[in-house]
Each structure stands twice: as C-alpha cells, then as structure tokens.
Symmetry: D2
Subunit: 281 residues, 4 copies
C-alpha cells in the first residue's frame, strides 16, 4: 500500500482535494485527471486501485449514470463492471453516489460512502454558494450592492448566509419565508421579513434559493429594467422564465457555484468530510 | 363579552403585551397587575374571567407551582381550584404551563396552550437574550468589546446570534462546539472554531450558553484578572464556580435576560405567538 | 530614579493605565489614588515627584481649575504653586491641560503635553463611546435593538462608529448629516441618509452626537412613548429638553461614557498615546 | 434650448447618467455614444451644443489629451479648437478636466467644472471600488473569503470600506497603516492592525490600495501558491511585480473598477455630483 488516498476523476475540486491531503502529509495518487494533474502523482486506474485503500470519487460521482464525472480525463470513464470491480474491498467515498452504485452490483463489494450526506459539507457549501452568488451579483449587476435593496427568497442555509453577507456589504435586505420562526429571525437580524404574496415590489437584485415557483407574474411585473435575478435553485428553479422574459427581467442561472468559483474551498470541505467519516469509523 | 383579551398577572412583559394588543385595536382587561397597570383597564379576576374569552397568563405561568407568577399583584394569587374554575371553557395561553396545569384538575376544562412551545417565540427570545448579554458585557466589562477577543460556548440559537452580534461590534470571536457542521459554520462566518478541550486560552469576555460543565479548571486557569464570564445557561450553568473563585474569574449570572432587559420586545413576541396560535386554530 | 512613571490622581482609567504600564514591564508609582490603589505601589507626592521622570495626570487633569481631578484621593489636591513646583523639569502628560497650566506659572518649568490632543486617543475614545452608548441603549430601551429603527444624528467619528455597530446588531439605521459626502457614505454603508429637516418621523432609539439644537419640536413630536434618546453631546446637547418633556420623550444624558463604562480600555488608550508621544520625542 | 443636458462621449457610466437624468424628469441629448445609445435621444455635436446649456463630458474627459474619451463613438473625437469652440458660453462638467482644458485655449470661454473633485463622488467611488474588488476576489480566488485571512494595505477611503465589507463576508482582516490613529481604528473595528514591516506573513487575498512600494520581497516571499493580490492602486501600484513573479504570486491589476463593474452606480454618483454643483451655483 504505497499511497493513502487514490483520487479518480473530478474537476478542480478534486485537484485541490489532492493538494489539501498532501499538505496534510498524506500520500496521494490521482487518475483520470490528466488535464489538471500538474504537480500530482498520476497513476493508471489499475495501479491506483491496487495501491490505495481509500478511493475518492468526485462530487457528483457521475452525472449521467453512464460515465464517471471526469471532465479532465483524457477519455470518458465508463461505469461498467470492470470499473466497479477495481474497488472491491476498498473504502470508496464520493458525492451523490446513488447513480454510480446503481451502475453495477459489484459496488456492493466496496465500502461506499456518500460524503455529500455529511452536514458539515452541506453547510460549508451553503456559505460558499452564498458568497459566490454575491460575487456574481457584484460582477453582473451594473449598480452597487451597497445601499441597494436586495431580495432573498427562502431562509434555508443559503438564504441565511446570503442575508448576512448582503447586509455585511451594506445592502438593505428583504427575505421571504413561510414559517413564523423564520420571519422572526429575519426581522431580528435586521432584514425585512416578507411573505411570498408580498414580493410584488421593486428590488435591485433578487437571489432565488427556492426550488418552487415563487417568483411569478406579480413579483416580476414589479421589477425595473436593471433588476437582476440570480437563480440558485436547481432547474426548473423558482422563476417563471416566461413572465421574466415578458417583463424584460434578466435571470442569471447559477447552479453549483462552489465547484466553479471556489474549487479550492470545496475541495477542502470534502477533505474534512472524508476525515470526519474516517475518524467516526 | 366586552374584551377580547384578559391578562392575568405577570411582569413588565405582560404590561407591554397588553399595550401591543391595544395598539393593534384589541380590547384588553388586566388583573393581578396592580403595581404596573397605569393606562390599562383593570378588572377583578371574576369580572375579567366572565368578560374575556381569551386569557393570557404570564411567562412562566408560575414559578413555584403554588401561586401565579404575579410580581405586580397586590397580593399573592394562589393556584387553587377556585382560580382554575374561573377559566373553565376559556382559551388560556401561558408560558411553561405544566406546573400550573398540575395545580388543579379543573384546568382540564379550559383550552390551555403553552405559547412558549412556539418556535417563533423561542427564536425571538434567543436574539433578545444575545443582545441583552452583549449589553451586559458592555456595561460590566471594563475594557471595550471592539478589538477584544470573546468566547461563546455553544452554537445553538443564542450562541449563533451572539457570534454575529459580537463580530458586528468589532470583537474577535471564538466559538466552541461539538458538531462538525457547527465548526464549519463558525469558521465560515469569520469566527474561530474551537473544540471544548481547546478552551484553555485567555479571553476578554466569555459567554456561556451551554447547560453542562464546559468551563472548568483548564479554561478558568487560563483567564486574566479582568476576564468576565456571563452565564446565560440555567443553574447550575456551565461554569465550575469553585474553580472560577480559585482563579478570581468574575462570573455574572444572567438568567432570563429578555424579561428584565427587553420586556417590550418580549411582550410583542408573545403577542405574535398568541396571534399565530389563534390563526392556526 | 526608581520608577519610570508616576501617576497622580484620576479615576479608574488611571488605575488601569498603571496596570497596563506595569504589564508592559514598566515600574510605576501612584499618588492621590488611595481609594483604588490595591496592587499598586503608592508614594507621597513628594516621593513620587523625586523618583519619577514622567508624570501622568488624569483626563481631564482638572475639572474646576482649582483642584486636581482625583476622586479616589484621600483629600482634595489643590492646584497651587507648591503642587506645580513638584514637577519642575519633569515630563508631564495629562488630558485637557489648559486649566491646570493656568493654575500656576510654575508649570512652564515642566515639559507639559496634552495626550488628549492625540488623534489616536480621540479616535479610540469615539469607538468606546459608541459601544458604551449601544450598551446603554440595550439596557435602557425596553424593546430590542435587533429589528428596531435607530437614528444617529451626526456622522463624525462617534456617529460613524454607531452606524456600524447598530447595523452589526441587526438594527435599521438612519443617520442625519449635512455634507453631501457624508450622505453618500451613509447610503453606501446601508443606512438611510437624512437631512436635518427630515427627522420628523418615529424612531425607537435616537443617539445624538451633535452639540447643536438638531432635535427640536418637529422631531420630538413624532416620537412614540417608548422612544429613548441617548444624549452623547456635551451640555447643552442637541435635544430641546423642554419639547422632549412636552412630548414625554425620555432623554438620557450620557456624557463621558468611556471613563465610566470602559475605564480599562480608556486607560490603555492613554498608555498608547503616551508611548507614541515619547517615541516621537 | 430644447434639452437640459447634453452628454458627449464616455462609456456605460455616461449611458446610465443619461438614464438617471431622464428618470428624474430631465431632457437629455447624447452624442458620440453611438454604440450604446439605444433608448437615448442622439444628436450631432453641433445640434447638441446649440440646444443644451449644460454639457456633461465623461470621466475622465480624455485619456490621451488628444481625443475625447469616447469608446462608443463611431469615430474618434479630436480635442481641437473646433471641438472646444462648440461649448463656448456653456456650463461644461467633466471628470479630470486638466488635460482636456489644456487642449485648447478656447475652453476658457466655457464655464468648466471638474465633478471628480467633489468629495461625495470620490467617497461614493471608494465604496464601489471596494465592493467591486471584493467581487473580483470572490470570482478569482479559488478559496472562499468567508473564514479566509485577507490583508488590506492602506486605511484610506477604499481601505476602510474594504475592511468593513470583508469582515461583513466573514473574512478575518488585517490592515496595514502608518498613522497611530489608523492603527487604533483598525483594531477597534475588529481587524488586526499591522505596520508595513510586518507584512511578511501569509494571507489568502491581499488588496493593495497604496500607490507606493509596500508589497516587496519580504511580504511576497511569505505568500502561498494560491494567494491572490488585487492591485487597486494606479500603475506602478504597490507590488514589486518582479518579486511577485519570482515567488509565483498572482497579481491581478484592477484599476478603475467602478467604471467597468458598476457603471450604473457610477453614473448615478456623477448625476448627484452635477446636481450638487448646480445647486451650489
């Protein structure tokens, strides 16, 4: 067993995960990362699987269920029995593992864990998502956020983080929620609490975190020409795109921001989740 | 039925609750509040119970289980059958109602609700507690919080609110927690995340929110002479008082702050909880 | 020369100044501090003046021009020639030194410096004043600051610090100013910018920092019963007290807060100013 | 006189300035903005100069002293006598007007004002610059700012705004300054105060606001591989680029951010400055 961790596939998060492990004194082999592996010890899949006891797959492990999520690999990595058999008896960590595990019954022979089920990873991702969304808003909104009036829909992890960051930048913040408890917290932290039927008023930037149709005709028809909507929820998101088009409101789809805008921080969150899983046994 | 709400007993929160209801257009009668009832319509218990359909008892309804919590009443109000019988068939709202309801089987004839079980009230109270603790620290700590280094133990509702407020005042903040998720959130929001065995370092002000012995010999022996500990957890709290004495660390017990320092805000939170219960039927 | 610094008179700030100097390895003698000198090396005035080269007088050095500002002295310390002569040839630092120096021509024989003219001391005091005012508001206002609407009059050092801290606690903040530049900065930092004729609207807490009549009939008549005004400007302040009385608005005079609420931080600021003066020669 | 304001040349700020004026009910003609004039009333230079009393030139009015700053003009606009003569007797507002006014003595016949000398415009620009720099850092730094450690060099307008915003996003912030007063304010607002010889320690993101060589060998050699420096000072800036190259530290030049990233906010600040000049006569 030459290397502690074998990383297979993935995007820049996987590269930074490798570096974070190495910075912590771990030995690391990577495979299927050819296009971004400068400074990392590369190995064939076979070699890696024979030398490493802990295998780290990307987040998500696969998008289509047919090939590994490996945008930097020289060639596509099919999720067949041969691939699964490589990791028999290994500890295999990856993100959103269902589709991968459905690709071959041989995955049953591995000790597979989904690190994306870890609360600390989900929580850390929410802060990164909020920060990246703020960065996007600064870049794309032609006005300033300081002194502007922003709307955040939803007061989950991302919504909460957004409210705090936007206020920290000097924005006035309204936030919509359903639960009485959330409305109380929104108010107490200096934001304006709105219910979903109260969104028919103008905002400078709107951040949607709700995966349900919350921004429809009423809200969209009230927006000015420069209003920017940043859609953070997964498709189909929370914005009535047809109504947005009719009222010329710009909607910027912004899915999976941390992987793109904060790959180093994302990789480090994965490292920590993996360590925590290993520590808990 | 002359008045919508009948308020019985309680402290200044109850007075502000009455005013908040009246400001919202409601008719209100009060009883057992003689010492603080200026501007409120007073009635005898009998009159109030016959005229009002919704009865609002204080938070807590009783402390000793024997008498109503009524510090402003002219005389003690015993929790006997006679008292309970007055509210037969009424909607009775109060905080921490168990002891009161145990005082007489006749309470079964009333529709009793504990508003302190409402999440929006608990959440709002946590913000008030955090703010009041900050106010106490400003008043009692001879240094300044801006530029100081504070410790918050625990990352529950109060701990979270404290971290944000202290940072908002310019303090450096460390926060101790057990859960990996909490440690991630603490770090992401600009505080230093500590585990409980890492508290043996000096802080200027320490806010304890944990009702378990987390501040013992190790932590207390590391504190300087001016360090102030604000104990927010219910007795016996989280501080080893004997060790604190030995190391001359000042511990300020600070239970139930909102009732004392923010009675108006507390009363308004109760009003909202009551309204929400009524709205939900 | 046995001791580096001789401290004469003063309040708790002077005590903490002594401790801060000692913590930095300096030898210190104190005099005219009998009531608060536990743990400090006391000396008679004569002894102190013969043994110390640098004399630290309080802030202010005198209030009445006749006696030293020495609330903890066993007896009053008259500012006569005899007192002045003690410090002939010494470096004498104090705050607001004019009146003291006018008390005897013999002060010309000392190298007197006013540390309260140092910008770093004035700046640090402004932050402390703002923080202490916030602490006072939390203690005295029966509502909560989080979610409240506060007014800060004036956008000088104290006003700026107040705006930031109040927002950091979750308050909505309006700030009044005259200069276009200030109005721009107020807006950009997330506060509402008001001109002085626009104060006729209700606020929860008002912090006056302007030593000119800015809160008159128009503003005061718009306030609710629970509104609290914290008067930070020196008498006569900025509030029309007669109108405040007429409209039952509570005005809390709050002069010189840091000396009372943050004596340790104040003492440390004085230490730093003294060090800076000494370093600059 | 058909139109109140005639806008000549400029970038998107000028477009948003036109829109802001029109939103305020003003009539506006534009010229030399062909590439971005959708929705605006265009006119020839001659027509515009004859119909408008107040002429608004861009910020800066010219870069090279030879042609108007007019990136959206169909063709270059030479700063010759003919151009200057057009505005004889007019009120002409522009930013950084020296070079333009040096281009022809005929500008003496116009009432020229430099709106970029207005404090409210400079102050507003500083907030925008800080915000845009934060947006750039979020986009370009592969880690997250929340929980990171940032350095801001300089505590002028931009440095101050940066410190506040970065803290508001959850970053730990160090700020370097020379003046004792600034060091005090930095500390009091929760940042770490550094002197310039203390920069030899690692940071995640460094924002340079100082137009003097403050980031040299010592500071640069201490940085990690992922450290990002955002250079906000005008060339040659404050970073020793050669040393940065030697230590593989990425330096991102970021001059004049508001014009590029916040043209709407910039245009509105110009509008306000122009209005204030007109109001003051």
């Amino acid at each position: 067993m030459r290397a502690a961790f074998g990383l297979v596939g993935g995007d820049l998060r996987q590269v930074y995960l490798a570096k974070a492990l190495m910075a912590g004194g771990q030995s690391v082999l990577v495979s299927c990362l050819e296009g971004a592996a400068a400074g990392l010890a590369q190995a064939s899949l076979k070699q890696l699987s024979s030398e490493c006891q802990v295998i780290l797959l990307p987040l998500p492990a696969t998008r289509d269920g047919l090939t590994l999520n490996a945008p930097f690999a020289q060639e596509a990595v099919p999720l067949d029995h041969r691939f699964a058999r490589l990791f028999s008896g290994k500890q295999v960590f990856g993100g959103m593992m269902e589709k991968l595990m459905a690709s071959s019954p041989l995955w049953q022979a591995a000790d597979c864990r989904d690190y994306y089920l870890r609360e600390e990873l989900v929580a850390g991702n929410a802060y990164l998502t909020a920060e990246d969304a703020v960065g996007l808003a600064i870049a794309e909104y032609p006005g300033g956020l300081g002194g502007s009036h922003c709307l955040v829909t939803g007061y989950g992890r991302i919504g909460k983080a957004l409210c705090g960051m936007l206020r920290g930048l000097g924005a006035g913040v309204s936030c919509s929620a359903r639960k009485a408890e959330d409305l109380t917290c929104i108010r107490a932290s200096g934001c304006q609490a709105l219910r979903y039927h109260e969104l028919g008023r103008p905002f400078d930037v709107i951040f949607n975190t709700v995966p349900a149709p919350v921004l429809g005709e009423q809200a969209l028809s009230a927006q000015a020409q420069d209003t920017l909507i940043i859609e953070l929820a997964s498709p189909p998101g929370g914005v009535d795109l047809e109504a947005a088009g009719r009222h010329s409101v710009r909607v910027l789809p912004a899915p999976s921001l941390p992987g793109k805008m904060s790959p180093k921080a994302s990789g480090e969150l994965i490292k920590e989740a993996v360590y925590n899983i290993l520590a808990e046994g």
